[in-house]
């Protein structure tokens, strides 16, 4: 009989059979929320811990994230409907560059923490964030920046939101390799996070989600 800790370990060890472990847990009747929270999320945190301790490397994070996403897609289908309801909506994407590792991890973690995530992808212009946020009625816009020229693009996004008269409709958060808390505050972001865990906590705090 499989245990949720097996899934946690499979993800932390970046094993391709994690999805199979998740499937077995579902078949054995384990609560899907528990599978996600104690298996997938904790496994990813363990992997993140390995990265912090320099026992895992960027390709491992990317691979772990991909494996975790497969597990989440599988388990999400079994989630009770009420869990899917009344979600706060987040529009997320990478401004200007093609890098998506951090953004993907934040996207995954927001989704498994109960947010309805609209991942716009990479290489985006500010206007795309505004348009999508309006279209889906977002509560929060999350922007990943890993390329210095995108810093001015973020300021452009804030300007667009103000000019369109919707700045107060959205909480806007930012993070990424070339950003800092001081810079984020200076350009009018509602918050900045240094890592995935921080981003999820920030989103929850800003939207009053427990």
């Amino acid at each position: 009989m499989a245990d949720v800790s097996d899934l946690r370990k499979a993800i932390a060890d970046i094993r391709e059979d994690a999805e199979e472990v998740a499937r077995r847990l579902l078949e054995e009747g384990v609560d899907p929320v528990k599978i996600i929270e104690e298996g997938v999320v904790k496994g990813l945190y363990d992997l993140g811990g390995k990265f912090e301790r320099r026992q895992a490397f960027i390709p491992d994070l990317v691979k772990g994230s991909r494996i975790a996403k497969k597990c989440i897609e599988l388990v999400e289908k079994a989630l009770p409907r009420e869990k899917a309801g009344a979600k706060r909506k987040v529009v997320i994407g990478t401004l200007l560059s093609k890098h998506n590792i951090g953004k993907n991890l934040v996207s995954t973690f927001l989704a498994i923490n109960g947010f309805e995530v609209y991942d716009l992808g990479e290489n985006l212009e500010p206007w795309t964030f505004y348009e999508k946020a309006e279209e889906v009625g977002a509560d929060l816009i999350a922007v990943s920046i890993v390329f210095t020229p995108a810093l001015t693009k973020f300021e452009e996004l804030i300007r667009i939101l103000k000019e369109m008269g919707v700045r107060d409709k959205y909480k806007v958060i930012v993070g990424g390799a070339v950003t800092s808390k001081e810079w984020a505050e200076s350009v009018g972001a509602d918050g900045w996070a240094p890592d995935v865990e921080g981003a999820v906590k920030l989103a929850k705090d800003l939207l009053g989600v427990s």
Binding site: F57, I58, P59, L96, H99, T148, P149
Partner: protein
């Protein structure tokens, strides 16, 4: 013999630089980058205003090191806008005879600069950097119109790093990179297998060998960006950063890299002697078996 691929290796000549072949035959081409984000020689990255004195000194030093070691060089010129890139190309092509990689995060800027380069007669010297899995059909068709003959093929997937995946990106189903290159009218291709951090050189080295073995194409990588993710390197020992960057380039060379984008051109002094030493050893591994280098302008006969 240290390393030999079973498949026949393609060798391309770009301007006067030969790239590709069996390890030991043609020395690694070392590519220094200039006018990238954070380069102190850049005064206005939008208009392309530069400190010409600083930039010229760095480029000439790379040329000198190339001459003294026997490792050919190229220059990767990065520009944010088409206007900036054109200004940079005009400047660099006046200072050095080395082939030039036309590099920008913006495909429009790259195309605009390539069009200009062909107009001013640089078509044999420029290399489009790069055709990637994200390159659109429009980009490929426009590139063909420019008449550019050489391009880097960036075999990069953000989800998969394995050698098998690199080969799929190059010649698998759908719109693989080699098909895009053909559609773009590109004859000389350099495969950049890409890497994300220093540890992932493990994937890159395996991928270089896989690409050379399966396709026989000149292959290499860009350790520079990955190297910048290693923030602790200077805590290890004074000057560890330069030494380790040079070692990372040598590591790539030992697994068959035909070209290496080693980072800012100012780092040439660290990289050229180290790579030349590796190349000399590779050439000697052939010489001791009876091979006679066609070109005596090779590290084995220049650096000792």
């Amino acid at each position: 013999m240290l390393l030999r691929f079973k498949s026949q290796q393609r060798v391309f000549r770009i301007a006067d630089v030969k790239v590709g072949g069996q390890p030991g035959e043609n020395p690694a081409v070392l590519v220094g980058t200039i006018f990238h984000e954070g380069d102190k020689a850049v005064i206005d990255p939008v208009k392309g205003v530069i400190d010409k004195g600083k930039a010229e000194a760095a480029l000439l030093r790379q040329d000198e090191l190339s001459k003294s070691t026997g490792n050919p060089c190229m220059v990767d010129v990065v520009g944010r806008t088409g206007k900036a890139l054109i200004n940079y190309l005009d400047f660099v092509s006046d200072v050095t005879d080395a082939p030039i990689l036309v590099d920008s995060p913006s495909p429009e800027a790259r195309i605009e600069a390539c069009r200009h380069a062909v107009e001013v007669g640089l078509e044999k010297r420029i290399i489009y950097n790069s055709i990637s899995p994200d390159s659109s059909l429009r980009e490929v068709e426009t590139l063909k119109e420019t008449g550019v003959e050489s391009a880097v093929l960036l075999a990069f997937s953000e989800c998969e790093f394995s050698p098998e995946e690199k080969l799929k990106l190059l010649s698998g189903e759908g719109e693989p990179l080699l098909l895009k290159a053909e559609k773009a009218g590109v004859r000389n291709v350099l495969v950049d297998v890409s890497l994300l951090d220093v540890a992932s050189m493990a994937y890159a080295a395996e991928s270089i060998m896989a690409v050379k073995e399966a396709l026989g194409l000149p292959s290499g990588c860009s350790p520079a960006n990955a190297f910048d993710t290693w923030r602790r390197v200077n805590e290890l020992a004074p000057r560890a950063k330069r030494t380790c960057l040079a070692s990372l380039c040598v590591f790539a060379r030992c697994f068959g890299a035909d070209f290496i984008l080693y980072g800012p051109v100012r780092l040439a002094e660290a990289v050229f002697p180290a790579c030349a030493m590796a190349d000399a050893i590779f050439t000697y591994s052939l010489v001791k078996e009876g091979y006679e280098p066609e070109d005596k302008n090779t590290p084995l006969y220049k650096i000792f």
